[in-house]
Symmetry: C2
């Protein structure tokens, strides 16, 4: 059997996790990593991985079945995505929810012209959470869906803390509020404000001699990021941060509460929950599974941009349809 030949575009946390994720799938092989940096400066996590410049990619359309795009949604994917869609099947974790329709259009146009397939907005939210929101709504049309994130590290919020003057390092945990989850499970159908769904806990390493009260004030009043939440701030040492807060754990929970019956007397709760030691590893593994789907679908002649809900689950599995009917159904 020919292995599915994968390329990685962009070599940050996510790209490194894709490199590792491919190793867990026997039907795949990593052809190379494509970077904007000087390839000779890149040290890959695993051995004997080829590193190329971005420009070299366009000469390698015959060697690569699917490109996994690992650039950032803010500044990389809006440009890289459509460019690669003209040359390769792609998967990405584009996660700017509000811009998904525009990104989809740009990808779709180029992918259709090149007769490639591009699966966008993979990962867990958007991604597996989107899939679960859809299934739950379709099954329980009368009901309410709630999404909770955490407990986990929000990289955007951690970055925001670190931009404050006098902050050396910082890490922010998003924590769902247990009472709110319980109310949803009970079927109270609560109207929850931002503050009632999550709170935020920050661990901050301050530079010596800085005014901690000022830092605390700046965090707590920061619009969009913290002002609408109850925020707890702990000043700790660099050693404590490294020892007690390593890695990028995350997770979350989708709950749909719905009602059925002649008088809507039956309550039903569907929950999908993730607890992840490594946000980039899990996101990467979702993208890798969808890379398998992209390759197979394109071999069947399917082209254009797709989101995760357009892909039948069976395409993600390395098992044949017969094996799935025997072992999974």
């Amino acid at each position: 059997m020919n292995k599915i030949r994968i390329g990685i575009v962009g070599y940050g946390n996510l790209g490194k996790s894709v490199e590792l994720g491919i190793r867990q799938n026997e039907d795949m092989e990593l052809v190379g990593i494509f970077t904007r940096r000087n390839p000779s400066t890149i040290e890959t996590v695993t051995r004997a991985v080829a590193v190329y410049t971005m420009d070299e990619a366009k000469k390698m359309t015959e060697q690569i079945d699917v490109m996994v795009l690992c650039g950032g949604s803010m500044s990389d994917l809006p440009f890289q995505g459509p460019e690669f869609a003209s040359l390769f099947n792609t998967v990405d974790g584009y996660d700017n929810h509000a811009q998904i329709p525009d990104y989809f259009s740009a990808m779709n146009e180029n992918a259709l012209e090149a007769q490639k397939i591009c699966i966008i907005a993979g990962g867990w939210d958007p991604g597996m959470f989107s899939i679960n929101r859809l299934y739950a709504e379709a099954i329980l049309p009368e009901g309410n869906t709630y999404t909770f994130w955490g407990k986990g590290v929000s990289q955007g919020h951690s970055d925001a803390i670190r931009r404050i003057k006098g902050v050396m390092k910082g890490k922010q945990y998003t924590i769902p509020i247990e009472n709110a989850i319980e109310a949803v499970r009970r079927g109270d159908r609560p109207e929850l404000s931002t503050r009632e769904k999550h709170h935020r806990v920050c661990f901050v390493v301050a530079e010596e001699g800085t005014d901690k009260e000022q830092i605390e004030h700046e965090i707590k009043t920061m619009p969009n990021y913290f002002a609408d939440y109850d925020t707890e701030i702990h000043f700790i040492t660099e050693e404590e941060l490294e020892k007690n807060h390593p890695g990028l754990p995350h997770g979350g929970l989708i709950i749909r509460h719905g009602r059925t019956g002649l008088h809507e007397e039956h309550n039903h709760v569907i929950e999908y929950q993730l607890a992840l030691d490594s946000n980039p590893d899990f996101t990467a593994n979702v993208l890798v599974a969808f890379a398998r789907a992209a390759h197979r679908l394109n071999q069947e002649g399917v082209a254009g941009a797709k989101t995760v809900v357009d892909i039948a689950p069976a395409y993600l599995s390395s098992k044949s349809a017969e094996e799935l009917r025997k072992s999974i159904i």
Copy 2:
């Protein structure tokens, strides 16, 4: 917009729940119920529903888009399924796991010949649990999946109790063992015996003057059903049974624990959990959502037997692809 025209084949608990489920979907209408009984003896749950004999179905291929097959998996579907597959798009909740490959073949042959689509083994297990097992395995190839059922009423086990001499009424709850769930969540990867995963609790109404010890012995030693489990038996009155144990609640939990990272140092837990007041209502609502998918796919020219993992999630939703990208992704 033309509504999707649904027929119901078989009018037991599941058929009644399908009748109610259709009312929650504005893009659907119920054309009629098909029964082996005398239609004039059937009292439908909602008003103004037409009831037909099974024989009348074959004259109504132009009036019905999808037939929801609500017969039993043991004695009805093996015959009814292939018969209806030659005439209609169908969905069913065939749940005899071991026989699914054979049932699939029989359905596939007839459906392909008639150019209809037949989605088999819907519901929650098989069904939504199958889908979630597949996604979880594809995303975390290195890991273990565990399925727990309950707390809920097992109709098969309740029937088994009622067949014992001297038992008037009985209800059996399947209950997952909390310690086992916790061990799985922690990542212990336990090897769990049947007894270590679930226990069984029976509420029995005995006829006056029967030997309760004998009933207890017969239940606890019944092969397949109870012998491999720790089983708790409570004798109660008929009034207590009706008051404290109404309805057919059920539910369950799929957990996959997986590892990623260079040295498999990152743990990840995916959970999909259902808590259902009414097993038949929820099963029916899953079938109704897949009926929408069956209709749409057949309109696109897709034919043959399919399982739930062969269907892209988007086909289950009444929302358009554009709406999904805006609101769900």
